[in-house]
Symmetry: C3
Amino acid sequence: MKKIAKTFGLLLCGLLATGVIPGPPLLAAESVDVGAVNAYAIDNMFLFIAAVLVLFMQAGFAMVETGLNSAKNTVNILFKNLIDLSLGVILFYFIGYGLMYPGDAFSGGWFGFSGFGVSMDAPDAVGGNLHPAVDFLFQVAFAATAATIVSGAVAGRMKFEAYLIYTVIITAFIYPISGMWKWGGGWLDALGFYDFAGSLVVHALGGFAGLAAAIVLGPRIGRFNADGSPNALPGHNLAMSSLGVFILLIGWFGFNPGSQLAIAGADNTSIVMVIATNTMLAAAAGAVVAMIFAWILFKKPDLTMALNGLLGGLVGITANCDSVTFNEALIIGAVAGILVVVGIKMLDMLKIDDPVGAWPVHGLNGIWGGLATGIFGGHPMVAQIIGSIAIPVWGFVTMLVLFLILKAAGILRVSRDDEMKGLDISEHEEEAYHGFQIFSNQ
Amino acid sequence: MKKIAKTFGLLLCGLLATGVIPGPPLLAAESVDVGAVNAYAIDNMFLFIAAVLVLFMQAGFAMVETGLNSAKNTVNILFKNLIDLSLGVILFYFIGYGLMYPGDAFSGGWFGFSGFGVSMDAPDAVGGNLHPAVDFLFQVAFAATAATIVSGAVAGRMKFEAYLIYTVIITAFIYPISGMWKWGGGWLDALGFYDFAGSLVVHALGGFAGLAAAIVLGPRIGRFNADGSPNALPGHNLAMSSLGVFILLIGWFGFNPGSQLAIAGADNTSIVMVIATNTMLAAAAGAVVAMIFAWILFKKPDLTMALNGLLGGLVGITANCDSVTFNEALIIGAVAGILVVVGIKMLDMLKIDDPVGAWPVHGLNGIWGGLATGIFGGHPMVAQIIGSIAIPVWGFVTMLVLFLILKAAGILRVSRDDEMKGLDISEHEEEAYHGFQIFSNQ
Amino acid sequence: MKKIAKTFGLLLCGLLATGVIPGPPLLAAESVDVGAVNAYAIDNMFLFIAAVLVLFMQAGFAMVETGLNSAKNTVNILFKNLIDLSLGVILFYFIGYGLMYPGDAFSGGWFGFSGFGVSMDAPDAVGGNLHPAVDFLFQVAFAATAATIVSGAVAGRMKFEAYLIYTVIITAFIYPISGMWKWGGGWLDALGFYDFAGSLVVHALGGFAGLAAAIVLGPRIGRFNADGSPNALPGHNLAMSSLGVFILLIGWFGFNPGSQLAIAGADNTSIVMVIATNTMLAAAAGAVVAMIFAWILFKKPDLTMALNGLLGGLVGITANCDSVTFNEALIIGAVAGILVVVGIKMLDMLKIDDPVGAWPVHGLNGIWGGLATGIFGGHPMVAQIIGSIAIPVWGFVTMLVLFLILKAAGILRVSRDDEMKGLDISEHEEEAYHGFQIFSNQ
């Protein structure tokens, strides 16, 4: 069809040139316009749907984190997940978005600002152009993801007020600044560092912020014995956690494919489909390999390890899902599944209490995603290494400073009594499961 | 089609080569056609996805309402949410749709009917034309939303049979009739009243129907003391309620953006994106402000207030999400957050028992949405005031009559014994949480 | 933009008419191209979204099955649902996909293989062409659906290892082979058998595999008395099950509409909308009729019957959702609602223990869907009968053999002690609800 049309067009060209026929290119010009306007609709609709899927991840994180913790801290964790999204939207709207996208003129730097708020001006209606509203919606969902990763790592002991302060700082400043380094055209981008959908920009940042918080906070009461050996403090609802993981998997189909930022145009369409399948393959490999590896280590197939393995596979493929083959996606996911189990054991040995495995899943595998982008994705290895150090260090150090200040101010951790009672009662005077007979696991 | 085009193209080629005919608008016309057909696909796909998101809200309502009530009424609430959707689909298909859309000829009236059932005839395949099937699917999801709002307000005491009767009446008659007043081209529309996605048409109708039900039913046993002071009857699963709120937020991205009914065409595309972001901003502001306001009043950050604040923000922006700026969306959401808290306190003072806050969220903020459309959206204020009175009054009065009849017939409220046992056992002989040790909170 | 194009077009028109410039019909050719490329984006995006919705059904199945079983088997059921997806993705990628789609050359046979893995080569960018990546993603979600249906039927007694072996066999071989008979151009397709979205190919296969498993395994301890009378072993969380059913309903809007495999082009667009509405109508009728029928039989409105009725309606419409009218969809759903209740009673009488009703919902109604395709859909009845026998027999017999082998090898069923303790502790040493006081129902 295309070929015939082309041939026909060329033939027509000749005829027109000879003036034999008068020819009405009016309709043709109009029709090009229709195609462009349709492409504009397609691309913006695609990113809108992707944004909705990423926002759905907030529900996934809330369910995963809540289920993996004690019943007595349920309201607190849910509230943190609700409010880091809500506060995050407002702060990223006013400040973060302008910091993350300092404008086209800006290039290669460390810090820039294009102004407060988000424009309502529609761009030219052609494919590839995104309305600022949907671009903001997609980006703010990413910011909220980075922020909410921390809520799992600090579960059961961080004061609600401290978490609010943290949320303001990370969504308004910390995430947008390092995000700009790559996605806003900053120095990491200029260096050739590649991070397609944010293994580092989003996940490692959140994972290392969580690690900083876990270190400064110290472990929950009873998490480690006097001799340093760990006690498991099992979650109170693994059905909820499993649902959360399924929701995160679904949301990731917005996170990764959406990061192409366009689907109209043959190449965009095709690569989005490859990204989606790579995402699924890495997730599957992560779950299966984490299950097998944990089974070998602990002699039992462990559900939470498989769940975290799936998430680890997703984090690992995030930076490179557009750059690797299907078989490579399986390898990246498989390695991620092992790293999750190893990371959890490492934290135990270091006596760091990360109740949901936020660092192994998002921090460690964020770095793995960045390196895998060099190993399999063909992107320059040196730039990948630099980016895979710079962003975790940025997230870890800035957040370490913040949490140390909060600690010094005495507003970081709840009292021993409040922790034993549970944060739901002590911080919110609300119980999550009224009427149920529940025993504390601490 | 393709084959014909090919054959025709080759034929034309020959004719053109011989100079017999003057020129080929064929391809151009064909290409315009492709653009139109693509726009038809884009618009219908968009509304289909929006309809699916709105249908997902049924899950959200079910989770919110169930979690905010006693464990012993879980099966009953879930069943009501399942069956108002199921019955609603059937009744809206046979009767409601024809009442709500009496046809193009109809204009400015109070009541009309275009016939039973839904056509299967495809429209011309151009952008902006919707297949009746998807138009029905989208609209029936709205009808089910209006209906299901009430299930929260009547929780714990209304007989299942009474709820079935109510469902039939509201989805077949009450909602479609007032819906027609605005969206079917009725008198409110002729008056200039504006309600983009249904702050009033859907939410206030449901909210005031719920208020009527709550008043006629009376409070649950133990909800108010002899001196009139209220007792909280806490929900049994705030994790479920939080999940429900996240699902409602996600579903609202179908509710509001979908109400544009088209996304192809530059202006449609752009406004859909603005609508989506306004929706997110108002929700965020509602959650944050309700949290802060409740914190000041009650000295503790209260999760259920923040959850309802988010929903209130969504209801408030629904009528005007296409007409206001981002900053105005934040203001509308912020006011909604305050109104939710105020509304809940008002009901307590009036000794009206609305277990989930259906009226503050959907009723009071439905009116706020209608007024905000005048204040910020530039729509004529008088028409907004009339619409913001007419629809709530219609919903309240018709439902008050219905529930009074059901009460007089003795089929509205369960017996005292049945209420104490819980509706799961007394109405369904099913327990929701078999094996769990649960204490009643009444 | 449009105006400029129009003006430019008119100007060009004049110039061409005078023969001053040679005229660029290139635009016309280009515009046809834009339309085709847009259609390619639309179709692939549509199938991508549909695939995501179908994948979401895994969460639905996990919630339905978990909630309908004892609390003590929660981790085990969740794990089975997680891992049949994860393992299924890997095996269907390497083997199943090549078995199911042996290629265009293949026609009418029983068995074929087009090779290992999935191509990354993009097709020509025109409407109707799907990238292999998204085709795989959509198809693997179907394979996982067929596989995961069984996890409900075997709940509470099958060893985790046995389930892993089963998963490998069904996703790599059993499902793809019979799937090919119809969708890969095999003998059932050549015969004229019609199964639009898989009432038989997916649901009946899974349902009858589950029946085979339930028979070989035998009932759970305490499920039937010595005199053959059944004891209900109630589920531990009907809120979770209800959420699962809502999620499945949502996912089915990917399952059925997505099976058109294209939405661009007027006919595709229109039929997708009809499919979506037929899906909703059949689901609604299934829920309402199952409720009424069970109410008559058991004197109480039973939530689990209504939930399964809704699912039964969905299964019944799956084969014929593109071939029947709205009214016929209601009839198909209504019959499905009755069949669900009848099927559950039949299993009780036969002393077969299918804890979630997998066979009544997916097996019996899968066959009903196939027959209804002949009765209402106008497809040749003989072919429908043959297909509606062949696929269930294939699924039942192959799986019967597999489970008998596993039983003979002593790795099918857990010990009596392990069953009493619950599979969470005995198989995984993990409890799902740590801290909650729970009594066993066996």
